[in-house]
């Protein structure tokens, strides 16, 4: 069974993803349930969904500073960050922090 997850983009992140705020994706078979992690997901998102410059999304093997990642409504830091194992039905949100006022 391939993993099916929901990706959301907020706070201006959607501008990097063809202005789509929410996207249902079925991950390829290389994402094995129980072993595939966020570390695998980020480059896949970059290579398959990103429509703007890659450095606006990633730096080294993680998201660039100023992007907060949520896994099912929770700060990814509480869920193991890059090591988090993706589960079917996960909702993963990428939020750009805002600074305007």
């Amino acid at each position: 069974m391939p993993l099916s997850i929901t990706l959301e983009f907020s706070g201006g992140m959607e501008l990097l993803f063809n202005n789509e705020k929410r996207k249902q994706v079925t991950l390829p078979d290389s994402f094995a349930p129980g072993t595939a992690t966020l570390k695998d997901l980020l480059p896949w998102v970059r290579d398959n969904l990103l429509t703007e410059r890659a450095e606006l999304f990633m730096q080294d093997d993680t998201v660039r500073p100023g992007i907060l990642v949520l896994i099912n409504e929770t700060d990814w830091e509480l869920e193991g960050e890059l090591e988090y194992k993706i589960q079917d039905g996960d909702v993963i949100v990428f939020i750009s922090t805002l600074h305007g006022g």
Partner: protein, 447 residues
Amino acid sequence: MAHPADVLAELHTLRAENATLRARLASSSPKAATAPSPAHPPPVGVPFTQKTRLSNEEISRFSRQLLVPEIGVQGQLKLRNASVLVVGAGGLGAPAVMYLAAAGIGRIGIIDYDVVEASNLQRQIIHDESRVGMLKSESAKQTVSKLSSLCECTAYNILIDSSNAMDVIKKWDYVVDATDNVATRYLLNDCCIFRNKPLISGSALRMDGQLTVYNLEGGPCYRCIFPKPPPPETVTNCSDGGVLGVVPGIIGCLQALEVVKIVTGIGASLSQKLLIFDATTMSFRTIRLRGRTPSCAVCGPHPTITKPIDYVQFCGAGPDDKAHNINILPPESRISCHKYAALRLDAFPHVLLDVRDKIQYDICSLHHSLNIPLSELPKRIPELTAAATFGEHHEPNLPVFVVCRRGNDSQLAVKMLEETHGFTHVKDIVGGLEAWARGRDPTFPIY
């Protein structure tokens, strides 16, 4: 050549002087005409006398709030005895200050070094048309004075930075971050940790808003969540990205609400949580954030930062949300708006390439221009080549002049066209359409 910082400083001085003169014209009251002192914040008045009971006037005035079981007399007294520093009298600070004053906060400090501009009024509702040109801190203070004689309000016409933040912040119980830039956000965070003040932090852009409370009851600080600042090129400000006025209004109101709840003891809802407001779908979601991070450079058990640092250097960006001009082309790759205007008058054959986004192009544009946004330029080169190729030629033979809003993106475009795509007759119009409007055509709008 004058240093840009000097020119800016002089601009601020002149604007302040202008504001003073306006105020004198607008009011016969000698008080309103008092020139604000730009360099030194006025001292916070005599030590604030703590009250233990409400006056009859206060009971009448705050009756609707006194009747709320969560507030009551004790809560109202706490508001009366509290002091709140609001940093930024802009889109967030405007409603935050007004609601805090209206709610009966005893002392409010307002920091801003900017002056009111017409383009602020769409969201900064503490100011109005008569205040255009006035210092924002003064304008905000005047609104508070009109709203409530019970509130002791201090206006700080200063640029808050590493040299003064510690002194200012220590005088206040709570700090509201209503600023518009990354450097000041890190500055306030660090100083609130050093001074142990809760920081109620809001932000807004376009149709989005965010709100959280830092450094409250063992909760995380800004650096726990964001140890590294974002790369400057990824930060969008309101003057470039735009903002729907009511969006910062909502976040500013919620900042005031969190302050009232913390002061009265109802308790904050957003410590170690982040509220995300999406105005497009009208959704509010609150997400759980990590707690205090043991490795945090300021609030961890082994801090590596123990006093304010150079935040402009740390963030690679200045303490404001203004556009900064670049100058990356040699003079021969540039043309002034006056020289370009003369070419247009002569009907000199050329292509005018406008590299702004469509949303800006729709606001205003010069006739007979070709609009290809900078981000789309690499893949739309054939369109430009076709437009610049005249007659029997197979190569572009017409000169290309590139224009944008302020003359920065146009330089990037010229550089890209020359270096990557082999264009040889290409120049940018110095200062962009703003220079055109100021120097050539006063009927052309500035946005």
